[in-house]
Amino acid sequence: MKRLISLVVAILVAVAGLALWSAHLQKSQGATGDNTLNLYNWGDYIDPALITKFEKQTGYHVNYETFDSNEAMYTKIKQGGTDYDLTVPSEYMIEKMKKANMLIPLDKSKLTGLKNMSPDVMDRSFDPGNRYSIPYFWGTLGIIYNDKFVHAGEIQHWNDLWKPQYHDNIMLVDSARDILGFSLVSLGKSMNTTDAPTLQAAKGKLDELAPNVKAVVADEIKMYMAENEAAIAVDWSGEAADMMAENAHLHYVVPSEGSNLWFDNLVIPKTAKHFKAIYAFLNFMMTPKNAAQNAEYVGYSTPNQAALKLLPKAVQNDQQFYPSEAIIRRSEVYQDLDPAVVGMYNDLFLEFKMYRK
């Protein structure tokens, strides 16, 4: 018992010592109150070298905190007690935060570099005129296939997933909106459908896909695809880029009939305090050179036209991650749906997951 107590005390002393030391380090870097920027972002969603560069250039200290879902971020900011200066919600969440009065409009006069943005990603339905948000990254929902098991060109459309030859060989990402969404597109319906009978039909069509579905998983899908566990997966383009970096046999297809177009945009939540640092950071990130460096690190599609021109030709012309105008035009952006409809999507998705072949 005595030894146990002394061990615990030793650990506590060590932790306290380290905490003091780290506080001292932060202070010596000039991290005192007003000189900081509290960035609330997805995990591993910025090149750390850029944060260091920004701190050196401007003298602000960046506190980087991460979240793993839009909903978790929303709940945390809504419940208060935080002082985040910038966060990166997806499009439907921007709509939701706008409705909940949680965002501060951008002061355009302080922004330089908005002209670098591609017109395709600006002024979208979720934030008309970009009053509240600046595009950070964008992408699509699509199909990843492994050319060891599937010939190139065999999968072009959502309906190809239903082919019996892919029995027990497809992995789906665990997201109600996206999975019911592609089922809706395959029926020629909108991904923002809200009426029950159409959703029911989409779920019915998904049940027919069940024999082909090997698993419905989340982040692990990257690991499984990289290790050839399944031939096909339905996932977001950003995740696809990660998998493809690990396994050269993987390819990404955005079905030509259209898909979901998603955006992660920088916004200023109501909890923000350090406005000088915020605008310095926004302008820093919109600089083509920095945006290009970030895109290279993260691997997602950059909304910054000028930055895209700085990336290698192979990236610029990559149809997988920068699909043609035609596909973009046919794709849909998610709208923020009524909570009751969101509930309906999720209940149907649960029913689909429980459906046994």
């Binding site: 709940t75 090997k214 698993a215 419905v216 050839n228």
Partner: protein
Amino acid sequence: MKKNGTSMAFYVPYGLWLALFVIAPVILIIYQSFFDINGHLTLANYQTYFSSGTYILMTFNSVWYAFLITVVTLLISYPTAYLLHYTKHKQLWLLLIILPTWINLLLKAYAFIGIFSQNGGINTFLGMLGIAPKQFLFTDFSFIFVASYIEIPFMILPIFNGIEELNESFVNASRDLGAKWWQTFTKVIWPLTISGVKSGVQAVFIPSLSLFMLTRLIGGNRVITLGTAIEEHFLVTMNWGMGSTIGVVLIVAMVIIMFLTGERKKRGRRA
């Protein structure tokens, strides 16, 4: 008087703990369960729960899988605990059994992904025997296997303690009186260790009811339990009322299990 006062003081931390971390959360969950998604006071969540085939089926699934996991762990644990009682170096063996519980559940799940996957250990071995790779991950088998593996120490320990307390002379007496091995077991050993089995069943069945990470990682969401639904209601649909309602149902189910497996005091006779 003074003695009484100090002994009351010892109850303060316990009472505070109970109030803050057991009673208050339960009350909060029950309270939340009466609100719908728009914040109106209502019984609609319960109505939805008991009128929807989905939730009823999910409840059935949860109970069924928890039952299977409990049976599998019991079948493995009882003989293990029994043999453990008669081995030398008991404490060492016991330590080895407890050792895996020191490792985080998620790490263990990820380790099993490596073992069961297409290029994993088992399939490589089967490949050497000339058997084509088999699908292990995302099957009922793998889910129950991994869940049982994780729960086994919690079953072995109480049974082991029960057997340790067993007075050896009862066993010898029954043998002397001509009981067969099987009779000794059913008439003497089993009844005298049943309380250990009961607490083992409680310790395994109750957590198994609400397993949720494993259902996705190992079960590939082909196994859906109430835990999955609660996670979804809190994290995705933000319908905390419905999530809490499922939570209340789970709590009630657990109370029933506790009641069924708990020690019932016999009336008129004091222990």
